[in-house]
Symmetry: C2
Subunit: 346 residues, 2 copies
């Protein structure tokens, strides 16, 4: 409206400095090609006029938005904020920002979000725990310059992939419980649509098979505390003799702990409980939760770094597997060990 200095755009600065917009663009992008005096005048004017480069125009012109789409199932699950922080730290160092989307465990919504992000011409996407079937996911990812999947694998030309070795991790967890002498083990299996959930089951079954034990009962549920509590209730009502639970994630495990506490079952004496992920919360609940731990922040960094490589057309590695590490805490501890399970403050 105001015709003088209104839009505070590049051309106004150019006019004020008596140079061409191109010169201003060059100076402001640090690409040189201007005398020190001209550059100084331009910088000063830009500052005075509170000029902010228009990233939208730049994106249109250059076909690079400087934005990375990140899709997570549920930001309220403490697993994902850690991952996001890792992603963000690398992204920010490289001049990218994050467009964050929550799927809330709905495949339909996931597809929708992937489309929307494409619309926004993000320079890449990181999909955490995608729930879509392979074919649909591949198709949805076609339009992207670069994509990285966490806990999911597709053809390497479609997307890079960082996966947690849930098979091995779950087998480790199962063996840990077997070593404790537990034989009536059940599984709180998380969402049916989760690929990671299926992998965990395979790992657990193979561990049981290799010692000649029966395959454990499985109940599926939402991957949160309430889901875990409900699943525990279902399992323990049907099979009161269960003496150990392997849970899809720590939230499910904590839900199970809650149910056990409410029904006066002692953990780990009556029932051992182990989770997955290694969220901080697991150290805070009582009994402290045993878990298959992964470094979520590092995984976030890995995702973003791989995505950056793909954006740059460098396909150095398209597959990274992270092995979870067993952390034994009170919820699966033998009694004599449990005594010394205290936090230490100097």
């Amino acid at each position: 409206m105001n015709s003088k200095v209104s839009k505070t755009k590049l051309a106004d600065i150019a006019r004020a400095a008596g140079v061409s917009p191109m010169t201003v663009s060059r100076v402001l992008n640090g690409r040189g090609g201007a005398s020190p005096e001209t550059a100084a005048k331009i910088e000063q004017l830009a500052d005075e006029m509170r000029y902010r480069p228009n990233a939208v125009a730049r994106a249109l012109k250059s076909d690079r938005s400087g934005i990375i789409g990140v899709v997570v199932p549920d930001i309220a699950n403490p697993f994902f904020p850690d991952v996001i922080r890792g992603v963000e730290s690398v992204a920010m160092q490289n001049g990218y920002n994050l467009l964050l989307c929550n799927v809330v465990e709905s495949a339909e919504r996931e597809l929708n979000l992937v489309r929307i992000l494409e619309t926004h011409r993000v320079d890449g996407v990181i999909l955490c725990s995608a729930r879509l079937p392979d074919a649909a996911l591949s198709k949805a990812l076609q339009g992207y310059k670069a994509a990285v999947l966490l806990n999911r694998t597709l053809a390497p030309e479609t997307a890079g992939s960082i996966t947690i070795d849930y098979r091995a991790g779950a087998a480790d967890a199962a063996r840990h419980l077997l070593n404790l002498g537990r034989r009536k083990v059940a599984v709180i299996g998380g969402p049916t649509t989760s690929v990671g959930a299926a992998e965990r089951l395979e790992g657990i079954r193979s561990a049981f098979l290799s010692v000649g034990a029966d395959s454990p009962v499985v109940v599926h549920c939402m991957p949160d505390i309430a889901g875990g509590a409900a699943a525990a209730a279902e399992l323990l009502k049907a099979h009161p003799d269960i003496d150990a639970l392997i849970c899809y994630n720590d939230l499910n495990a904590i839900g199970a702990l809650q149910y056990c506490e409410a029904t006066f079952r002692s953990v780990p004496k009556d029932i051992a409980v182990i989770g997955f992920d290694g969220i901080t919360l697991g150290e805070l609940v009582r009994p402290q939760l045993s878990t298959m731990h992964v470094d979520k922040y590092a995984i976030g960094e890995l995702c973003m770094r791989m995505l950056l490589d793909r954006i740059d057309g460098k396909f150095i590695q398209h597959r990274i597997v992270v092995r979870p590490e067993l952390i034994v805490r009170t919820s699966t501890m033998l009694e004599q060990q449990a005594i010394s399970g205290q936090v230490d403050f100097a």
Copy 2:
């Protein structure tokens, strides 16, 4: 490069359908002005050609990006994911997406992020717990079409504001502890730069003043678990007779609980501990944490709705105050009450 159908853009569809780009634009934006047959053909072609409207170009043209900037201090604090979910749900219903940024408790970085978001021409920002001084914050917000602050207030024309009544809440917490008979109360005060922290202190001091008690000792710290533990250590080493702690937030309180557990102080017998925020975590730790609870999801929704109004130029209300609610759990319970403090599963 490929000249036929390469860029899958609007003009290609227009060519293929034998109409003008404008007609395609109209159809694809559901603005009518085309015969049913033409519209059908266009829709079909758009689908076949896997056309995705270019939100960047649209944003440049219309000066509306469809993106909301959200700045939080620390996404790993469970307070914020809840808020974000509330924001996102309203945003998504209205066709907006979230550009999320983590400040990690640095005012400099905060300023930087606000600038970057401006560059991206977001349609509005929601700043959660801004740490910048008033003047700098006002200035940084000048370039925005719309802004809403959580837990901070500026001139209504600069930004809308949703605040938690920390003064009243903290006074309630203080009175609760006084009613319990505690007289050696100390405060774990959170970050010195937090405006909310100062408000809490005022509330606490006034509550103490009105019963003629001394103003409590205060120690500041980072608003996370480690910060709370460190602050508790500092306080209890200097003043071993402290019998209650009011904490900046639940994370600080949980840190304090950890320290108490490690140093064999019984909560609430030796020390009562109360937090702020009402994060789920507080119900999961033992003893369960008393807290001044606020509905974080609802607050997120409020923020986004207020922002939408401001984007539309409707300044219906520019200030909403949410009153926190005292939730008494085991960490400040009298012993006879504590017995029945159990979760109930049917």
